[in-house]
Assembly symmetry: C2
Homo-oligomer: 205 residues x 2
């Protein structure tokens, strides 16, 4: 009984996935999704959260069960997949392994162990759908952020440009974010208002 975690982040306006190197057969030395076996008495959610914490040091982020596969390795094993969203500035990847894990752009993934490419596609699909009617993006952004930052995150996940005015109108009318009154002066241009998520926990609307 194994869990498998698709850990997403957005970095440089790019949707990325955390991959590790397999050290065992089969698919030794292939890149793959992090995963592992349940500890005795451990729940699935707890195992997924633990895996996420082991790989990124991050806890208390958006984490959702995705699907359960029974044929990934071709022989009898069952793997419960999860997906997580982390702010890459908070994540601290293990660097002292022989093959350190890394963030890979979802647009140019290598061939992965087992059917992991399919799992990632499925996770992205679910994430895309979720974005439209929930506030899951909170898990990818710092406490205070500008509307442009938020829009870039949405664009990276959806893979297409969004209209600035329509995006702002919608975010504000849904009430998922609130203006803080603070502004961020950064660069040779007008400073931007800082917003915060009204709730930093999953909300579906």
């Amino acid at each position: 009984m194994a869990v498998l975690v698709v850990i997403f982040t957005v970095e440089a306006d790019d949707l990325r996935v955390l991959l590790i190197r397999r050290s065992a057969e089969p698919f030794r030395d292939y890149w793959s999704l992090p995963g592992g076996l349940l500890a005795p008495e451990e729940s699935l959610d707890a195992a997924a959260a633990r895996k996420l914490q082991e790989e990124t040091g991050v806890t208390d982020v958006y984490l959702e069960q995705l699907y359960t596969f029974s044929d990934l390795d071709g022989r009898g094993s069952v793997a419960v997949s999860y997906f997580a969203l982390v702010n890459s500035r908070r994540a601290k990847l293990a660097r002292r392994r022989a093959w350190p894990p890394g963030w890979f752009s979802i647009e140019s993934l290598p061939g992965l162990a087992f059917e992991n490419n399919g799992v990632i596609d499925y996770a992205r699909e679910r994430l895309r759908a979720k974005l439209d009617y929930s506030n899951v993006a909170y898990s990818l952004l710092p406490e205070y952020f500008t509307l442009s930052q938020l829009q870039r995150v949405y664009e990276a996940i959806l893979g297409r440009p969004l209209d600035k005015r329509n995006f702002r109108k919608r975010m504000l009318s849904l009430g998922i974010i609130v203006a803080t009154g603070r502004v961020a002066a950064e660069g040779a241009h007008r400073p931007a208002q800082l917003y915060a998520f009204r709730e930093r926990k999953p909300i579906v609307f």
Copy 2:
């Protein structure tokens, strides 16, 4: 490693679930969802289809993985749940057991073993959502049916009345059904046109 199947049907304009009596502890003699262990080398989908077939004799219907639970029995077990939609006129329940299985209206379920009531609620939620953007209802209806029959199925699942004109407009404009030209004379009133699903397999729009 167990599977669990929420088998829905619509009978007498009423959404119903198939329940069986447990014969073993814990929760001996409680009603519960049908389920069982994976056979060696068996995939999850195959195990769910087999369970469905064992209970109803039905095969080749809509069957979808729902969620995987790790704490249903309170101690370590993992159960992958599925939901299925069957036409109750085709289903043949086992009648020769000491406690034969039965169809229970979802509005008045007894207290079930484990957390099965929660699983059913979740399944119904998913079914409701799916109804809106797929043709899953094909699995609940005979090959030819009237628009009123179809509407009653939708109403039973959604638990609320629908407007006849809007319903027809939508079904036809989505192209999920086609008129056959045949009519069904039945009762002291105008005969109804018979329709068929364009595809009798899952379509998402």
